[in-house]
Subunit: 435 residues, 4 copies
Amino acid sequence: MIPRYSRPDMVAIWEPATKFRIWFEIEAHACDAMADLGVIPRENAQAVWKAKDVEFNVARIDEIEAETKHDVIAFLTHLAEHVGSDEARFVHQGMTSSDVLDTCFNIQLTRAADILIADMEGLLAALKRRAFEHKDTLRIGRSHGIHAEPTTMGLTFARFYAEMQRNLRRLHTAREEIATGAISGAVGTFANVDPRVEEHVCAQLGLTPEPISTQVIPRDRHAAFFAALGVVASSIENVAIEIRHMQRTEVLEAAEFFSMGQKGSSAMPHKKNPVLTENLTGLARLVRMAVVPAMENVALWHERDISHSSVERMIGPDATITLDFALARLTNVIDKLLVYPDNMMANMNKFPGLVMSQRVLLALTQAGVSREDAYRLVQRNALKVWETGCDFKTELLNDAEVTAALSPAEIAEKFDLGYHTKHVNTIFARVFGES
Amino acid sequence: MIPRYSRPDMVAIWEPATKFRIWFEIEAHACDAMADLGVIPRENAQAVWKAKDVEFNVARIDEIEAETKHDVIAFLTHLAEHVGSDEARFVHQGMTSSDVLDTCFNIQLTRAADILIADMEGLLAALKRRAFEHKDTLRIGRSHGIHAEPTTMGLTFARFYAEMQRNLRRLHTAREEIATGAISGAVGTFANVDPRVEEHVCAQLGLTPEPISTQVIPRDRHAAFFAALGVVASSIENVAIEIRHMQRTEVLEAAEFFSMGQKGSSAMPHKKNPVLTENLTGLARLVRMAVVPAMENVALWHERDISHSSVERMIGPDATITLDFALARLTNVIDKLLVYPDNMMANMNKFPGLVMSQRVLLALTQAGVSREDAYRLVQRNALKVWETGCDFKTELLNDAEVTAALSPAEIAEKFDLGYHTKHVNTIFARVFGES
Amino acid sequence: MIPRYSRPDMVAIWEPATKFRIWFEIEAHACDAMADLGVIPRENAQAVWKAKDVEFNVARIDEIEAETKHDVIAFLTHLAEHVGSDEARFVHQGMTSSDVLDTCFNIQLTRAADILIADMEGLLAALKRRAFEHKDTLRIGRSHGIHAEPTTMGLTFARFYAEMQRNLRRLHTAREEIATGAISGAVGTFANVDPRVEEHVCAQLGLTPEPISTQVIPRDRHAAFFAALGVVASSIENVAIEIRHMQRTEVLEAAEFFSMGQKGSSAMPHKKNPVLTENLTGLARLVRMAVVPAMENVALWHERDISHSSVERMIGPDATITLDFALARLTNVIDKLLVYPDNMMANMNKFPGLVMSQRVLLALTQAGVSREDAYRLVQRNALKVWETGCDFKTELLNDAEVTAALSPAEIAEKFDLGYHTKHVNTIFARVFGES
Amino acid sequence: MIPRYSRPDMVAIWEPATKFRIWFEIEAHACDAMADLGVIPRENAQAVWKAKDVEFNVARIDEIEAETKHDVIAFLTHLAEHVGSDEARFVHQGMTSSDVLDTCFNIQLTRAADILIADMEGLLAALKRRAFEHKDTLRIGRSHGIHAEPTTMGLTFARFYAEMQRNLRRLHTAREEIATGAISGAVGTFANVDPRVEEHVCAQLGLTPEPISTQVIPRDRHAAFFAALGVVASSIENVAIEIRHMQRTEVLEAAEFFSMGQKGSSAMPHKKNPVLTENLTGLARLVRMAVVPAMENVALWHERDISHSSVERMIGPDATITLDFALARLTNVIDKLLVYPDNMMANMNKFPGLVMSQRVLLALTQAGVSREDAYRLVQRNALKVWETGCDFKTELLNDAEVTAALSPAEIAEKFDLGYHTKHVNTIFARVFGES
């Protein structure tokens, strides 16, 4: 976790205090369930709730752990300091540490997912607003970095919106994947703890009982969760790369918002660098790097080994904190992005008229010219524009073989930009349900 | 693609002949739609179907491609050889190569998903059968490779079943992710092709129209698809590792089916090696390695660059073919797995009675002994068993501090194996809906 | 392995015929050594060489393997068909299959490394030639995609040269890593085969004896090998990305060689797309994806398990074939790259004079202006150029605060391009040992 | 960085205070060089050294950075607070932030490499000591987890030693890869700073001048560095997996040192879990996950983009801190590993005599039995032992077909364990240069 790439709400989920709070709730609800089942005395279960509003002393727990070398025992010992040794003596009965640890981890991931989902909704709102704002802002579409045909900036925002909407769905699925809990004992047989304890604890904490666990909750769930974060991160990179391209000196169709007081570099004050989106490109790599170890974590030995634990201690906080930060940063970038429609038009006309070559090609074939001939005619005029900067339409009008097939009016009509935007509303309706 | 790790149905999906067949269908349906819209003559659309049953000549297409350096043009040229140049002249009108290539790729992935889904259903059937067969076959549960508490072999199969059921759901989601098509032209604006052409083609081919595409279908879909395969592969590794452990000489609780005619190694005839599950471990790594490049493919430049293409040419076939093979191999391993219940009991009794230590611990605390004392009492007797192989129950009966808390009958009761299996039916009901 | 991304010499290394030829040589040399040691009769050792020039029948070996389910036994059986059963009966004596398989695999990787090293030398030659050709071709240097200060195209080529020279060294190290052989028996103890057999075989085949092997050669060597390929691939991506940027419509400082007969896309004839370097970007991902599984292969169980084998069957050929192809393709791209110096100058002057801002900043501080003030002065004039396209030098000359610190002559001097290229020779001397 | 997986010396390298100290040294040495060249006044260069023993105020620098949004400017401002504004005004002259940042990062990585190298030397010493201690401790060698032939525990340690010696070499190479510095200005042309400044700074700080840099030091170096760490981590996993296998209940040939006061699990006091090596397995995944993003960092745009920065902020500290901790933990595990030779012998005799089957096979073929017949004879007796636990030697002596080929004395001789250890000294001499 890098402080500069983190936000407090997500960080809070991963703080020791939060963890102990969750542990407490698991243990307390479990006691309630055991009391309901008559396994432990009701008053002992009730006594545990004395610690309901206690702020656990993390330092004290660490101190006990240093001695016992066991985190859950350390916590239980500390809990007994609040509840009373005697009252607390049924806490955790029949349970194994992982019942607490794994259920807690999934609660943390579920809460993290909730934040990510809210982040994503914020990003979607920003993308939608900018999409409608620039629905008709003309811009050249590019394949291979080369001018292709006109499109609009609104369509660019709209496709990012559609991609992020898919990511929203993936985040919901990811949340569902890990919103389970398990209180099933040392090897998952419920030998020492009734399955109804698990059911009660899960119900209280908004989880689904894991249908079958071992000592741990199966790690394919977590692999799927982190894989989903990796996909989201890759989409963030996708948007970031687009903006970085738009901001480069020669293109300059957009720029990250630039406050005049900010120093862009130590030496070149005029440089407005797309540092936020470059940063997002790097953050995407960081989130993505959790995917493979999360998958390597799936194959635990028999009913569990603990190899996954150190991995999760790192990627649990790191991937979620980094992704939360990245989504918020991207939302901010989108919200404030400076868009330069004039530069978009200037770029489109760098090789005057050339972007219409596909239409001319089509018109020629529709006029009866063979595909091969049409291709040749378009190509020979296009190359002139490419090489000399002359105007494509003029060249076509001067090409006898072209005018033999198409009238001047027909040629002129091919250079109407509206031709390319006529289905923008249709696409917007598909994406946003409105246009 | 490694022939020895492939099966014909999945391989067929990726053969050039299949690809050209799909291209044909896309083009032919597109012509129909264009004819419906009055954009091209009906007879030209109908003429295309003359090639309906033609087996396209892959070598001929390659020959044309060698000349034109363009695969779709090569195909169209060849198609015209069947349909007639004149009749074929409206084929592909207003479309761009990617309309065909991307829609085709998604059809191939969708078909691959269908095979993988069927594979998974086969694996689930095998796991379920073996789970019920060994529902009550006692076996020691292990954490950290160390004996913990008794469980049953049926629960082992059942948890793999539950994991694979989740994977089945992930495969369905993955299929849905990539079952889209796009016929939207050079930059996705439908400038030269009506959106209704896309709708018609997709409807005919069982796809959903991509709500917004550029020149290509967005690659976050494919990233999610390959990530799902990576999770499935990791689960395969999980099962494989379990079996490899069970088969090792000292454990020998199970073995891959071994035909007596097979030579296990060039020099040691008696060795029955778990080579299939070791192989599955490697295959899992191969499938998983597609995940990161698929994610790196998401951030294409502007409306497309072609960097993703070479990656997909390899991982498209490789990951699906390998996973199909792996699922089939695992199904076969599960189906025929030799299970040795006697060895399971012998292993459980390696340190006589020790696996019951948790129950004794619990009984002591319930009898009023403090957690710390109970721990100490269990530990000191357990260590004797560990070090000398003596019987745990006998030691407990001879420990005055223990018998001060628990009667001999109470102690004896703790060594009842049925205690550990009492919730097996409950778990089976959760997993299978029956027990 | 994708045929379109492969070249015959590298493919040949991985063909079954090559593998069997290497197996033969290992076995034949091993027989010689055993005869030298008096372990087997000299005439049997000599008899093996009867197969020296035999072209082994791959189909026949496959047929035997289908029956015996063991590849080395199948080969030995087939070898006996050439040498005579009786004469061949000492072949492979005391050896284990992995002695042959692992030594063979390392020979294949070593040969692959030789080709990659030759490829790299070819690439270096091309880069060096282009570097000297464009040593003084002025071009704007960019950070964050934003104009920074002038540099030269020669320096761009030179830095790729230096990077590839490091990669050449890494390839040599990688070759050394895997140029070992092992003939040490079932668990590496040489129980059944004298260590001198290994020494002889390795000496004959250009390998170093593995100091200590188990049944297999340790896989950390292979992990290091594939990691090196991953670094080389990443450098290829680095060069490819540079060229892709240079070729984009708005920049157009270079272009992949374009033969006029080639059709750039099915619809837009004028587009000259950087498809080769886009392809190289994808190929880099493919090579890189071998790195993680190669690392996962290191931790084999005890003296070996066979999980690494399937992985290596795929990544061995795939990563080397793809990298060989990529290096050759990149060499070709560099060799023929169209460089447009005029466009470089035009781009540099997009914001007239602005690229000199750093010099002016420095001059102001040297003239006694505080860093903060100098920064402010440069920034305010730079922003005018940025926003209006006016000339930076003129603005400075009109800024009283600037001219209070610098004379017009001093200001003019800051716009001398030679200032930026004065150390090009020094850098070339560092990189090439000449300038 | 996870505190529990970190050690103070490595952590210190990555602390802000260390970073600022290094920045100071770079700037101060650069000033010296500029004074030598007559570019700045000598007294200003000398004045900078007034801050030689200053402990920079990290909080103060952060405060300035919050305002200026630029870390190097913040530091320089703070430096001026110590040195005096006027005296400090030539500091950083002609340099760019990356000159400082990149050179500093490489110094940190170099120091990290020094610690890792020392760690590795410690691990080698432990492995060597244990190897000689157990040079002759007999143990069954295993392939596929199945008993193969006898080996010794010393050979196991020796092969880990040889592997780690290769890793030591890789760490030295990795150190060399990143022990470079660059003071070359905004795009690497030395336009504003003489190359001799770079030479002086590098000489003072133990670095090699980067032959050609852009704004940054090329990232292929860092990719190679982190790839080397990934290989080392994979070797750690290799050793960890071996120990985890040895410690499992059924094998119990070794165990991590267990202090009696330690509670192995919250519920099962007798369990001695291999938690350290399981943890090392996870830590290996964590180190390895830095490899791919480090490779993705290579392809920066033009003379630099800043996408690599966030990645390095995380993987720089995390990968080195985790690997340092893992090497130290592994050294400790090896040093104190409990080895159980009696259990090794008991395991070897699980199927009495069976591990000698390869020798018998060889003896039969040498006695003139065909390979196929010998195989059959060995196999039929071996399977009896496998299935009934009878004694292999006895079975052979009772098999008329066997005794027709081998005398009882010849058969007995095949069961001499010394046969398998006769080359241990040779191997030790290869590995350690002594035996």
